[in-house]
Amino acid sequence: MLKTFTKGGVHPPENKFSANAAIENLPLPKQVVIPISQHIGAPAAATVAKGDKVLVGQVIAKSSGFVSANIHSSVSGTVASLDAVLDSTGYKKPAITITVEGDEWLPEIDRSLELKKEFSFTTEEIIAKVSAAGVVGLGGATFPSHVKLSIPKGKKADVLIINGVECEPYLTSDHRLMLEKAHELMVGIEILKKALGVEHAIIGIENNKPDAISYLIKIASEYKGIEVQGLKVKYPQGGEKQLIKALINREVPSGGLPIDVGTVVHNVGTAVAVYDAVQKNKPLIERVVTITGKSLPKTGNFMVRIGTPISQLIEAAGGLPTDTGKVVNGGPMMGKALNTIDAPVTKGTSGVISFPEKEAKRVPEKPACIRCAKCVSVCPMGLEPFLLNRLSQRKIFDRLEAEKVLDCMECGSCSFVCPANLPLLDYIRLGKGEVNAIIRARKN
């Protein structure tokens, strides 16, 4: 009996078309647009001026606080502008536009493919290197990784969890990474273990990736204290709290962090990025992005420089078919629909999915909730989405807070199952925002 988390969950069709497509390098674009805020926390502060020449890996915006991250140039060339640029939501956000000229890297970056297993850094050195390299959580949340490695005083981790679940349908970037960069991943985990001072690490992988599980089990036997655990397929197993519950049966308290139950969770992509940062001095300037969709001519996984326009990625997959109705940045359950495909790939872009028109539109909602309780039974956080939806629509925010709306992680399971097609999550998200604002106001 394979492990999984116990409460709620759904089984959306997997549609992992690109699972067998090896990672290819996407050709360099003519121009990249690098937003200065690609992470949760304070935006970085630009350190270059218009007309400056930059090399690949050079810092172009500095972290402006503890919860913030450095931004590096992903190409070599000339800074074309520092103006705000339309991002994927259609709002203008400050970004650095660089015109690409050649592909010259900073000399200290080790570009060889040779595996470098040995390291002798201290915890502080590792955290400093990770922080300097601008590594953020590559699972999609883009939380700066060095913050997660700096364990607050009085707390202690005893196990490191590596998230190779990739529970979102369609996406395969982590899957390919595990198959193609297994050794780098293992060394990355060793480094993370060292930084956190833990002896034991568990990699959680859903069993719809049997090749990755068996391969990683084989590789892990060469390293000490790394365990690979297959998991029963269930969305949202990639959620931090769900994964911890599934793997080590601990429940992160409401409003708490994984460290409260003695663990830290990192994504496989992040672990590889940590390897690159520590062993190769290579900052986070590129990432694996899945490009997929039912009617796309070709699906695949590409190593993409940060800042490359998404439209170029789509071209590499043969261009958008004429019946495209929606393009989503991220997975179909939690990803964001793109307002424009000219938006750049950022550190958080795990995949780009195109939906044919007939699947792009929501099914019109029915007039009424029939209280079938399906949303309650699938909610992985044990909430009552139907109730939160109603309270949010009626603006009863104090009750909304009491009903734990802030525990909602917006996994979308409730909207996914609702037989009346009610936009449950839309309103819950709205209510969450309002409750957060009320709490902030209360504190001040």
């Binding site: 259609g90 709002y91 629909a337 936009p423 998200r429 925002g433």
Partner: protein, 289 residues
């Protein structure tokens, strides 16, 4: 059947009623809460719409605060207007300061013909939800989304979304200037402005802060920040900030010079008599109401 049964029944029930009444009386006495009777009097004068335009939770909340307040100069009942407020002040024996009547105006004219769509929104019908998701289904990130949060929030049925323009229309007669729509609009498009006795008003119907070229590209009737209106205004009523003109309604004398000069027709005039046939005047659907 003997009559005694009926008699006893009637007597029993009457006795029960009397006993209950006595208990009720004492309970009511015991739990009586003293309330200033003037609160009821003030509340009776108020419109009773519980719109929240005064900043208090409902008319009762206002009446309560109003009676307890030492200084009433900062308080006002927008839907009730000066008459109601004066009446409420009279209850307390105070003098009310008359305020200018106000009305909500929509500062966006981006109908589909002026503002082309760049994407389509497909989610819950709420401007607030749409705003957190993206900038809007047009090239203008400042403009009206037309999903009607203002319509929903209006307690006086004074707003509707015009089907052809996709923009909210505010009824002169029904709008009480309670300000609910101003608070509800996530794009901050609706503004409260002074209401001329005849309903005349002039305002910049745009809040696009982009530079001229960008603004013009996204919407044909956007304010491009050219500054012509600032120069032409004889009353110094127009200021320019962030490429956007703003007409101060306290200084504006409704001379209409700026309207003629605006190259993009971004300045609207409402409820003026038709001028001599010279300039094309933007017709607002409100007039047909």
């Amino acid at each position: 059947m003997s009559y005694s049964i009926i008699l006893y029944t009637v007597l029993m029930l009457s006795a029960l009623g009397v006993v209950s009444a006595i208990i009720l009386y004492f309970v009511a006495q015991k739990f009586k809460v003293f309330e200033d009777p003037r609160i009821d009097e003030v509340e009776a004068v108020l419109p009773g719409a519980n719109c929240g335009g005064c900043g208090f939770p409902g008319c009762r909340g206002f009446a309560d605060a109003f009676v307890k307040a030492d200084d009433i100069s900062t308080m006002f009942c927008p839907p009730g207007g000066n008459e109601t407020f004066a009446a409420a002040a009279k209850v307390l024996g105070k003098e009310a300061i008359a305020q200018d009547p106000m009305i909500a105006v929509v500062r966006c004219s981006g109908s589909p013909e002026h503002r082309s769509r760049t994407s389509t929104y497909d989610g819950a019908q709420s401007c607030k939800i749409a705003t957190t998701l993206f900038s809007g289904d047009t090239g203008c990130q400042f403009g009206c989304l037309g999903l009607g949060d203002c319509v929903v929030v209006c307690k006086f049925d004074a707003i509707y979304i015009d089907e052809t323009t996709g923009l909210p229309v505010i009824s002169d007669e029904k709008c009480t200037a309670c300000g609910a729509c101003v608070k509800a609009c996530p794009k901050f498009i609706i503004e409260m402005r002074k209401k001329d006795p005849k309903g005349k008003r002039i305002f910049v119907s745009c809040i696009n802060k982009e530079k001229g070229g960008v603004a013009k590209k996204s919407c044909a009737v956007a304010c491009i920040g050219c500054g012509k209106c600032v120069k032409v205004c004889p009353h110094d009523a127009i200021t320019m900030e962030n490429n956007l003109a703003y007409i101060d309604y306290l200084k504006c004398k409704l001379c209409r010079k700026c309207v003629e000069d605006c190259p993009t027709n971004a300045i609207l005039e409402l409820h003026f008599p038709p001028r001599k046939p010279k300039v094309e005047v933007e017709v607002q659907p409100e007039k047909t109401e």
